[in-house]
């Protein structure tokens, strides 16, 4: 990153701090199967007042292979209101092997097609990073938090001086350990939720209002 882009990023961060933007474009990021789309659907259901979803969810990784966007969601929490444009991005990965999908029962042709689309999805997720005001990084609380995807997304948000909120998802599962995530990334706010069941979701909305409002 050169001097001009660094100066531009710093200037943008200062302007945002001074004027406290009340509208923000935030991306849902994380590894495949962390529950990004389940959370996006939950936010949509809670605040849009309309039926519909960001996308389908599946136990097969890379179900979301195109970024989905909803604009103008009004979230009210902590006595403040924030208008969000939310981008649900495909799962970030450093490797995609079609054989992984065949293990879930997909045919070879379906698996190869899914793998191709998944690689395109990762690229699209990376492109979106340049066009956001902040990120909700969704992690699976039952998994090791030190994945390279998590490290890379956090590193990029810190380098761009953009706000980041870590969502420790799947707290409803017996082996969930949100405390591991908090210990791994102590410099960032972490909210433990179950996007599937809606547990502690109000705390997440309060944190969103505080972090991005």
């Amino acid at each position: 990153m050169g001097f001009i882009s660094s100066f531009r990023d710093n200037l943008g961060a200062w302007i945002n701090k001074i004027f406290k933007k009340k509208r923000a474009k935030i991306g849902l990021y994380g590894p495949p199967n962390a529950g990004k789309t389940t959370l996006a659907n939950r936010i949509l259901k809670d605040w849009s007042g309309e039926e519909g979803t960001f996308g389908t969810v599946s136990p097969i990784p890379h179900e979301t292979r195109r970024a989905m966007r909803k604009e103008g969601l009004i979230i009210k929490a902590n006595g403040s209101t924030i208008e969000l444009d939310i981008v649900d991005t495909p799962g970030m990965a450093t490797k995609i092997d079609f054989k992984e999908f065949m293990a879930f029962g997909l045919s070879e042709a379906e698996s190869k097609k899914r793998a191709k689309e998944a690689t395109e999805g990762v690229i699209e997720a990376i492109k979106w990073l340049e066009d956001l005001d902040g990120v909700l990084l969704v992690m699976d609380s039952t998994e090791d938090p030190y994945t390279q995807v998590n490290v890379t997304v956090i590193g990029n948000m810190e380098a761009r001086k953009l706000p980041l909120l870590i969502v420790a998802n799947k707290m409803d599962l017996p082996n969930a350990s949100p405390s591991k995530i908090k210990a791994a990334f102590p410099q960032h706010a972490v909210v433990a939720i179950s996007a599937l069941e809606g547990s502690n979701i109000d705390s997440l909305y309060q944190a969103i209002a505080a972090q991005f409002g």
Binding site: G2, F3, T94, K95, Q148, V151
Partner: protein, 122 residues
């Protein structure tokens, strides 16, 4: 009789990398990894270079040829130098290991240690 198989590792110094552009670094890494080599970078990549490496990897994935990379690094460190911040080098990469996804597998990783297993002959 024990059959010995070889793993080719390239340990690349900070001095070599600091004179290269981001694209040169990414190309160097991917060319080596696609040949089955394990690359260890003394000083790692910046967060932006890491994400560009992932992006470039995605464009080069081919069925039955190359399924991607395994990359493990420690979180970037903030540098204290004012000049580094002015010139956009506020974050310094740290030791990083990168290899073909079908050969290198992370066993365990925490703040202080990365344990990986390298398989040969796949």
């Amino acid at each position: 009789m024990i059959l010995m198989r070889e793993v080719h590792m390239d340990l690349i110094s900070e001095e070599k990398m600091e004179n290269m552009t981001s694209m040169e670094k990414i190309r160097l890494i991917l060319d080596k990894v696609k040949k089955g080599k394990i690359v260890v970078l003394e000083s790692g990549l910046t967060p932006d270079e890491e994400v560009r490496l992932i992006e470039m990897t995605m464009t080069e994935i081919r069925v039955d040829e190359f399924s991607g990379i395994e990359i493990e690094s420690y979180p970037s460190k903030k540098t204290g130098s004012f000049l580094d911040k002015i010139f956009g080098k506020a974050f310094k990469g740290r030791m990083t290991v990168i290899g073909p996804a079908n050969q290198i597998h992370t066993i365990e990783k925490d703040k202080y240690q990365i344990s990986t297993k390298v398989s040969v002959g796949d």
